[in-house]
């Protein structure tokens, strides 16, 4: 299928609930994985893959596609879900996540046919790959763009700031960084583990356009990405969208709880989460 498609808020919200159901199912089936940071990134994936990114799941190697690079690459449950809901992966495959022989590896393995531009999983690395892709697109005089998703925790890696310095230096205004700022990491609150604030000022000081949003409001995510599209034509600077989010968003017992970074729900927890998400679906469709 060809994207982008027109923005439809209610439709996107329904898709977000489906994605959350996928995330819960994948981690439950695998008995491991990262639900918290997957759930916080849902609306960004939904808006990006449906309404912004120029891509075609029937022609995954299309030369003029925009590229998405996942830098916080442990959130494969969200990544595989969006790829399955936009035609790259059969949704039936999602239950093979993290199992021996499955292409749905714990951390992504490069698989362009299934929409995975590049593998990843070691934090601090894929932002710089995205920078290289953006530079390559410029050298080839392409009008395409690169979107890269990171997190505030990943921004503790020093290599991220090497990249943050080089992208404006090379005037890569075709690159948009999305920061899933959910304020929690494995060992606790980001501010207690290693403070990254003031994040927007840091990016401004590194010569980026900066947009602060609520990462769970699809309209805000959409407007910010549209603003990036404007910036990419009117300024030489790259754009950082800093999206305040809630880890575990959408599943009440996981929301804002550090322990759900890398833990799978058991059967009882799975049922409870699905019930809650189905109730959300019902409210939206009534």
């Amino acid at each position: 299928m060809k994207y982008p498609i027109p923005f439809d808020e209610r439709e996107l919200k329904l898709k977000a609930i489906q994605m959350r159901k996928d995330i819960v199912l994948e981690t439950f089936s695998a008995g491991s994985g990262h639900p918290g940071g997957s759930l916080s990134a849902v609306e960004m994936f939904i808006v990006l893959y449906n309404c912004i990114l120029k891509h075609d799941s029937e022609n995954s190697r299309w030369e003029d596609r925009d590229k998405f690079v996942l830098s916080k690459a442990h959130i494969t449950p969200a990544y595989y879900s969006i790829l399955s809901r936009t035609g790259y992966i059969d949704p039936k495959e999602l239950v093979t996540f993290r199992k021996l022989g499955s292409f749905l590896q714990g951390h992504p393995k490069q698989d362009i046919d299934h929409g995975i531009e590049i593998g990843g999983g070691s934090l601090g690395q894929n932002f710089s790959i995205a920078g290289g892709i953006a530079l390559g697109m410029k050298l080839k005089n392409k009008q395409t763009r690169v979107f890269v998703m990171s997190s505030e925790g990943e921004l503790q890696e020093g290599s991220m700031w090497e990249t943050a310095m080089s992208i404006p230096h090379f005037k890569l205004n075709n690159l948009c960084l999305l920061v899933d700022y959910n304020r929690l990491q494995i060992d606790g609150k980001t501010e207690e583990v290693m403070e990254v604030e003031p994040l927007d000022k840091k990016f401004s000081a590194f010569n980026w356009n900066v947009i602060n949003i609520n990462g769970h409001e699809v309209k805000e995510v959409y407007d910010a990405l549209k603003k990036f599209e404007e910036f990419s034509l009117s300024t030489p600077r790259p754009t950082a969208i800093i999206a305040k989010t809630i880890k575990g968003k959408g599943v009440a017992y996981m929301a804002d709880v550090c322990g759900w970074h890398g833990k799978a729900p058991n059967k009882e927890e799975y049922d409870k989460a699905i019930q809650e998400l189905e109730a959300q679906e019902k409210t939206l469709t009534q």
Binding site: S128, I133, S159
Partner: protein, 317 residues
């Protein structure tokens, strides 16, 4: 002592890059503020639009190269071997090798012969930490011509290639018209009593050692193992079968280096006694290249002595 013509290996790297720049529109050069040392400044003079300086930031440079390769370019990444293979090892492992990206690495300033800059700048571990990476090809050319040919060959290989070369002028042991095949060791001279396997600047030392042995009627076969990975097992096994004992010589840590790679082959196929010449679990220091090669045991004399010892031990077996 042979009367060698002396040439820079890094000049071979730069000359090959210029040749590639002229014919291959996809070839790019990436620097980390050391282009004047690695001589990629010569490429930049000719092709400023194809050269990108990433500043003193190797991790970003290497993954940036990975990104460029995803857009169809062939990036040649250039800096000192210590920073290239060491500082950004995990980028090379997880991004470049795991995804089999088409990125080429030119690790300059390998070995103690870097000289007065001292231990921090003398790369002694690259062969070990690069050859253990799946997908990586590791080449240690012996001289100017081999460095040039290896660089040209790397451009034709799809996937990561690591080239190691030094700072100083080294003897020219090959001819301009010699064939250079990645993965095919070169027998520099045939012999029957001992096999000397060497790489890089140690190939010339090995030939000098063979001359010293010849004076005592000992016939040494000298193999230039310029490609450490994939290793030419066939040539190594055949030679070991013929001579019955092997000495390896490298300007690198003996632990995990070229000699270890040779031992991995021979111990499993045709075990013979081996002696290893190289840096023995220590770091270098400041000094002249010649002083350091002597102090750290990387001279023809060391190879000669090791060969005599291994031959005598083999006879006692």
């Amino acid at each position: 002592m042979r009367n060698w013509e002396m040439k820079l290996t890094r000049q071979g790297w730069a000359d090959a890059l210029i040749e590639l720049g002229e014919k291959d529109p996809e070839v790019l050069v990436l620097d980390a503020d050391l282009s004047k040392s690695t001589l990629t400044c010569l490429f930049k003079e000719k092709f400023p639009q194809k050269t990108f300086n990433f500043g003193i930031a190797e991790q970003n440079m290497i993954n940036g190269a990975g990104g460029l390769s995803l857009e169809g370019f062939i990036p040649f990444v250039s800096t000192y071997g210590v920073f290239l293979s060491g500082r950004a090892w995990e980028q090379i492992r997880t991004t470049i090798c795991m995804n089999k990206l088409n990125v080429k690495f030119g690790g300059a300033h390998g070995g103690v012969s870097v000289g007065p800059d001292g231990a921090t700048h003398q790369a002694l571990e690259e062969i070990a930490i690069m050859r253990c990476l799946p997908e990586m090809i590791v080449i240690v050319p012996a001289d100017y011509y081999e460095t040039k040919k290896a660089t040209l060959a790397a451009a034709k290989i799809k996937g990561p290639v690591y080239l190691r070369f030094g700072r100083e002028k080294v003897p020219v042991v090959s001819n301009e018209n010699d064939e250079f095949i990645v993965g095919k060791a070169k027998i520099m001279q045939e012999g029957t009593d001992v096999t000397i396997v060497a790489c890089g600047a140690m190939v010339a030392e090995a030939l000098e050692a063979a001359d010293m042995l010849k004076e005592e009627n000992i016939s040494a076969e000298v193999i230039n193992l310029h490609t450490i990975k994939p290793i030419d097992s066939k040539t190594l096994i055949e030679s070991a079968k013929k001579t019955g004992c092997v000495v390896t010589a490298e300007e690198h840590q003996v632990m995990g280096g070229m000699g270890s790679a040779v031992a991995e082959v021979l111990s499993q196929a045709n075990p013979v006694l081996m002696g290893m010449v190289g840096v023995l679990d220590t770091f270098g220091e400041s000094g002249t290249p010649e002083e350091l090669m002597i102090k750290y045991g990387c001279k023809a004399k060391n190879i000669y002595e090791k060969a005599k010892k291994i031959i005598s031990l083999t006879k006692k077996q």
